[in-house]
């Protein structure tokens, strides 16, 4: 039966490819919009949102296009298409780290002329999004959905050992030591050792957040108004903090191999006490196959001693291609997709975090995804990664240094020194 179904899929696919060829040949009508969506974020539900727009705006037709399944593959694809000044895309979804680059390259059209008072318009969103999407006073993209880094913890184990949720990294170290010492004692009979803390130190985008979390918590910024404001002391402390987790055994020795989903898998297998990760992990922890179902708590990330708690902002934005031949319609569509109505719809139907603060108390949202109630505080505490057109270079410098320092091939001091001189070349 499955082969039968697949065969029909195949035939349908071939037929589709022929229609696609005819599309390419025929001219595009004014109200036909091509939208590039991210296939890892429930394109089926976005499709329903597009259908709603089509129903409310008769005569409009939206064609959805998707590329590879990761932010990186999508960026590679969009960079190719946009470098070639291709006009086939009207609207595209962008990872929160990219609007500045797209704006500098002249690939996106600002929204200023259609949204009225930009400050007032942007202030309706979660606070960090105004900053992430505004470059030199121009609003270059509008938020699609939110995300942030969370501290996941094992509710059951903290209760069992009478430990409170840590508010600072030092408290977390003490708590982790206490629980893991007891759990890993031979008498406890665990099959594999419980890790105190899992975070990301592989040279991936998440490692940028790893570095920034304690750095930001000390009240320092990396980039202010497009200028580098690198605090060597804060950076050294950040590296030293992460290194101390490895040296003291709170985190494992091969932490430099750990990527985002490794943290999720190991926590889900019941091998981790505290984990730092994005919101997608929650849904996976609560599946029936998970060893930690109903044993997971989520909290604001700890602060450094005397610092403030801070999270790393994620999420995705909608932008209008400056090569689009349907500027007016495309801007209108993006404003619709970035409205409270659609944000609520996507929260309820696709479990994507809302971009409007009030939706975190919305009854429909909380009924569909109850844990969003505890997410607001965390999402509000999130800061955006440096907003600069040369973000990819900044990211590469930070993540490779984090990786080298935590692999032990570079000392924190050497890492900071190298990072500063390389960042100075990128951001003057």
């Amino acid at each position: 039966m499955s082969s039968h179904k697949s065969l029909s899929v195949l035939l349908a696919g071939t037929a589709l490819s022929f229609t696609a060829l005819t599309f390419a040949a025929s001219s595009v009508s004014a109200a036909e919009l091509r939208v590039f969506a991210s296939s890892q974020h429930r394109p089926d539900v976005w499709r329903k949102a597009f259908d709603m727009y089509e129903a409310e705006n008769p005569g409009n037709k939206i064609i959805m296009e998707t590329g590879g399944n990761t932010s990186e593959l999508q960026a590679q694809y969009l960079n190719t298409v946009m470098s070639a000044k291709d006009s086939s895309l009207d609207v595209m979804i962008l990872d929160v780290i990219r609007p500045a680059q797209f704006a500098a390259a002249g690939w996106t059209t600002p929204f200023n002329s259609t949204i009225g008072d930009t400050k007032a318009f942007m202030s309706k969103y979660l606070p960090a999004y105004a900053g992430a999407n505004t470059i030199d006073g121009k609003v270059v993209a509008l938020p699609a959905f939110a995300d942030a880094m969370f501290l996941y913890y094992r509710k059951d184990l903290l209760e069992k050992h009478g430990v409170a949720i840590p508010k600072t990294w030092s408290e977390l170290t003490v708590a982790a030591k206490k629980v893991t010492d007891a759990e890993n004692a031979p008498a406890a009979g665990r099959q594999s050792a419980l890790q105190g803390l899992s975070f990301q130190a592989k040279a991936i985008e998440g490692a940028v957040c790893t570095f920034l979390l304690p750095y930001w918590s000390q009240g320092k910024d990396l980039v202010t108004d497009g200028k580098l404001t690198f605090d060597k002391d804060a950076a050294t402390k950040s590296f030293a903090l992460w290194k101390s987790f490895v040296d003291s055994g709170v985190a494992k020795a091969n932490i430099a191999e750990v990527a985002t989903d490794d943290t999720r898998k190991e926590f889900q297998a019941g091998e981790v006490l505290f984990a730092i990760g994005w919101s997608y992990a929650w849904g996976q922890f609560q599946t029936d196959a998970s060893a930690v179902k109903d044993k997971v708590g989520v909290a604001v990330l700890p602060a450094v001693d005397g610092g403030k708690p801070v999270s790393c902002l994620g999420g995705w934005e909608w932008g209008v291609s400056s090569y689009s031949k349907n500027q007016v319609e495309a801007q209108k569509l993006v404003q619709y997709l970035s409205s409270p109505k659609i944000s609520e719809f996507m929260a309820v139907n696709a479990s994507l975090l809302p971009v409007f603060p009030e939706l975190y108390k919305d009854a429909d949202v909380l009924k569909a995804v109850p844990w969003f109630g505890s997410a607001q505080e965390i999402v509000t505490s999130a800061k955006a990664r440096p907003v600069t057109p040369r973000y990819n270079e900044v990211s590469e410098i930070i993540r490779t240094t984090v990786n080298a320092v935590l692999a032990g091939t570079m000392t924190p001091e050497k890492g900071v020194e190298q990072m500063e001189s390389r960042l100075q070349r990128v951001l003057r």
Binding site: S17, A20, A24, G68, V81, S192, E271, Y280, A289
Partner: protein
């Protein structure tokens, strides 16, 4: 199959036991990663984070295969990859056979220069040519067609295939060709009736090279064919991952489904075509 008719080059290893041992080494070397993927495709995800690791699946499950077919149009990916690879192979072999014949047999003044130029082409990594190539394909209105992939794939394999064929064509005695032409064959007739069949191992090798190069390619396939109905297997398989999640068991199942047809193809081809032709032709 006695040891007397065995290939003398390696005849000192022709004992049956030795053959089995050598075969075993070859198979382990070549198959191990594929077998590992096969075992993984039968495991559940929790088993992957177990320590110490398990080699064989605890409880073999077909769930990953069902998901691989249910989550994405896997057969469509296979079909597209197969068609693109097949068309690329046919086209590459045609173009490179003609070019190789000219280079091997005709008196060309700039022969070495042309040969160098063809090889020089492959010294440019395609990665760096992505944007100008995209513009070329758009100008030719080939984006979102098989041709957008087939054309660059021909070029990808052309240098190595041409060089392999030149070397084989040069090894065919001119007398055989001349004899065929005396029998009434034209020059091109002699090429296809005498030279190509006698170079069967070379043509087969070139064909495999072209097929696999096209089968493996990822970057151009991702960039030139954004239409979901035209996705090839390497691009399609990335769709099983999430932004962060990398579900090895399901991806392994998809990879296995992708490997099997190629394996079957290789087996059929090498048994029927190569052994038949080589034993008849060259030895004689």
């Amino acid at each position: 199959m006695t040891s007397v008719t065995a290939s003398p080059a390696t005849g000192f290893l022709s004992g049956r036991a030795l053959r089995l041992a050598v075969g075993g080494i070859l198979i382990i070397n070549g198959m191990f990663p594929a077998l590992w993927i096969l075992f993984t495709s039968l495991k559940g995800e929790p088993e992957l984070t177990r320590k110490p690791i398990t080699w064989f699946p605890d409880l073999a499950t077909t769930e990953n295969y069902l998901r691989a077919f249910a989550d994405q149009p896997l057969l469509l990916f296979l079909f597209n990859s197969f068609m693109v690879a097949l068309l690329s192979t046919i086209a590459t072999l045609s173009v490179s056979t003609l070019a190789a014949y000219a280079l091997a047999r005709l008196n060309l003044r700039f022969r070495d220069l042309i040969l160098s130029a063809i090889i020089a082409v492959s010294t440019f990594p395609l990665v760096t040519l992505l944007v100008p190539l995209f513009e070329v394909m758009r100008a030719l209105e080939l984006l979102n067609t098989w041709a957008a992939l087939v054309l660059p794939y021909i070029v990808l394999s052309l240098p190595v295939c041409t060089l392999v064929l030149v070397s084989f064509f040069e090894g065919i005695p001119r007398d055989l060709e001349n004899a065929a032409m005396v029998d009434g064959c034209t020059r091109l007739g002699a090429l296809f009736k005498v030279v190509v069949p006698l170079s069967a191992p070379g043509v087969f090798t070139a064909g495999i090279l072209a097929f696999v190069n096209a089968w493996d390619e990822f970057l151009l396939a991702l960039s030139f064919n954004s239409n979901p109905a035209l996705r090839t297997l390497p691009v399609g398989i990335t769709l099983y991952q999430g932004e962060f999640a990398f579900p090895w068991p399901v991806i392994s199942a998809a990879l296995i489904v992708g490997i099997v047809p190629v394996a079957v193809l290789i087996v059929i081809f090498q048994e029927r075509v190569v052994s038949g032709l080589t034993s008849g032709g060259i030895k004689g």
